[in-house]
């Protein structure tokens, strides 16, 4: 692993994004717009908006970064740049962490806009600070990136890559506590939810909603999400083969 190569790889990915203005605009504007929709949906139930908007601030970056990364990595594979990169001094971990860093930067920008809109325009109210919400959103985005990289190893086409969304992402959204609080789910569903990393991201956000200070539970959750992201990146590195059939 080389820090220089990792950073120049992230730089390259950010530059690719920058040339694609439309994607940048969509990345930044869409979550804020969706939050506004939620705001009007729950106009008559302000407490519900706080809970749902807070959860969504964790779910948006996760889903969007998962999709963007799996497509980006698949493109790297199908255009032959991956094959070429693997004949250079670049290490597999350099490439994957390069993606992780580049998209966390994108997620930080996206999260800052979405969080700012939620708090200042839509009146989101939490006991804890917006800064912690942003931190959790970024860690969650890194998780999305890591799972996207891992899943793209099992996809040969864009169609297949997109199909991993319902397989890997949707169950996590269903079970993370957004629709039904986890305590209210039956035991076996809770057991599944307990091994899905998004659950912990949402739990951490709800902690910020409840407590003025960062709680131990929140930090534990953040560490679990970060750990899951690193694990997925390591697995992605292990499934990335220099030699192919």
């Amino acid at each position: 692993m080389s820090v220089g190569i990792t950073l120049s790889t992230s730089g390259r990915i950010v530059r690719q994004l920058r040339h694609d203005r439309r994607t940048v605009a969509l990345l930044i504007v869409v979550p804020a717009l969706l939050l506004a929709v939620l705001y009007y949906m729950y106009e008559d139930a302000p407490g519900a908006f706080d809970r749902i908007a807070l959860t969504m601030l964790g779910i948006f970056p996760f889903v969007i970064m998962f999709l963007v990364t799996s497509i980006a990595m698949l493109r790297e594979r199908t255009t032959g740049t991956l094959e070429r990169l693997l004949t250079t001094p670049l290490g597999k971990v350099d490439l994957l962490f390069g993606y992780g860093i580049a998209f966390s930067v994108a997620a930080a920008v996206q999260g800052a806009v979405a969080t700012g809109v939620a708090y200042w325009l839509l009146g989101l109210d939490t006991a804890g600070s917006a800064g912690l919400v942003l931190l959790i959103a970024v860690v969650d985005a890194v998780l999305g990136v890591a799972l996207g990289l891992l899943c793209s190893a099992f996809a040969r086409t864009e169609f297949q890559a997109v199909q991993f969304l319902p397989v890997v992402v949707v169950p996590q959204i269903l079970l993370c506590g957004l629709f039904v609080p986890r305590e209210a789910m039956s035991g076996w569903l809770q057991a599944i939810a307990d091994v899905l990393p998004l659950t912990y991201a949402v739990d951490a956000l709800l902690e910020v909603g409840k407590s003025a200070e960062a709680t131990a539970t929140m930090w534990r959750d953040v560490i679990i999400v970060a750990g899951a992201a690193v694990l997925a990146l390591v697995l992605a590195a292990a499934t990335l083969r220099r030699r192919t059939p």
């Binding site: 530059r15 255009t79 032959g80 094959e83 004949t87 250079t88 192919t244």
Partner: protein, 243 residues
């Protein structure tokens, strides 16, 4: 260090899908030479090249480059590879591509500019690769391999889509670099390029049917025209197989 042969292939067998694509290839490519790899479409040129740069799963046999197993870590600094389809980032400019590949070798902007100039793309350096013509795009891809000044350059059809003047420039450059000790393996479809190589490998259905100098190939086939010589060698081979 001086290697008599830069690339040694022995008993190489490769299966792709259910097909045997390379069936016992033996050859050795001398250091500091330009070797042409020729053969019909689907004969296994790209597969042999992939084995030499160490990205192809091989069934049997060995490939050694500069005395080390193909694809091993030290070779990743000294072997440059240009894939058949240009493998550069379409959403980056030529310059951004060259700088990124330079950075992988710890090199900087000056090396990137030199490589861009070497392939004649200086005036298009700021253009997005996605907006280049096909020939320009494959030169951008070549620049990203030249940037690291590799000792061995493996090029899969680098001159496709180039006009005669540019092709001539590129071949002159290959010979210039090989004069300074760089080893080239260049696959091609174009027979008039075969004559510009120091040595030729002719591959057909995964088997090597000639490994000689252009003069040697001409003599063996008894004709001065390389294209006719190849056709004759291929026909002779088919008759032998049929018999």
């Amino acid at each position: 260090m001086n290697y008599q042969s830069a690339i040694e292939v022995s008993g190489l067998v490769v299966d792709r899908g259910r097909r045997r694509v390379l069936d016992g290839i033996d050859c050795s490519i001398p250091a500091g030479s330009v070797t042409g790899l020729l053969g019909p479409s689907g004969s296994g040129k790209t597969t042999l090249i992939r084995a030499i740069v160490g990205v192809q799963i091989v069934k049997a046999g060995t490939v050694t480059v500069l005395g080390k197993p193909a694809g091993s870590a030290p070779l990743r600094r000294t072997v440059g590879y240009v894939t058949q389809a240009p493998s550069v980032y379409a959403d980056l400019s030529v310059r951004e591509n060259a700088r990124y590949f330079a950075s992988l070798y710890g090199l900087g902007a000056a090396d990137a500019e030199r490589a861009i100039a070497d392939v004649g793309l200086t005036s298009a350096a700021r253009q997005l690769v996605g907006n280049l013509s096909g020939g320009q795009r494959s030169r951008a891809s070549l620049a990203c391999a030249l940037v690291a000044s590799p000792e061995v350059l493996v090029l899969d059809e680098p001159t496709v889509g180039q006009d005669p003047v540019l092709r001539d420039d590129l071949w002159a450059q290959f010979h210039d670099l090989s004069g300074r000790g760089v080893t080239f393996l260049v696959s091609s479809h174009v027979m008039d390029e075969a004559g510009r190589c120091d040595r030729l490998l002719l591959i057909r259905d995964g088997e090597l049917i000639a490994d000689d100098t252009p003069a040697g190939v001409r003599a063996a086939a008894g004709t001065d025209d390389l294209e006719a010589a190849f056709l004759r060698l291929i026909r002779e081979r088919e008759e032998k197989v049929a018999a």
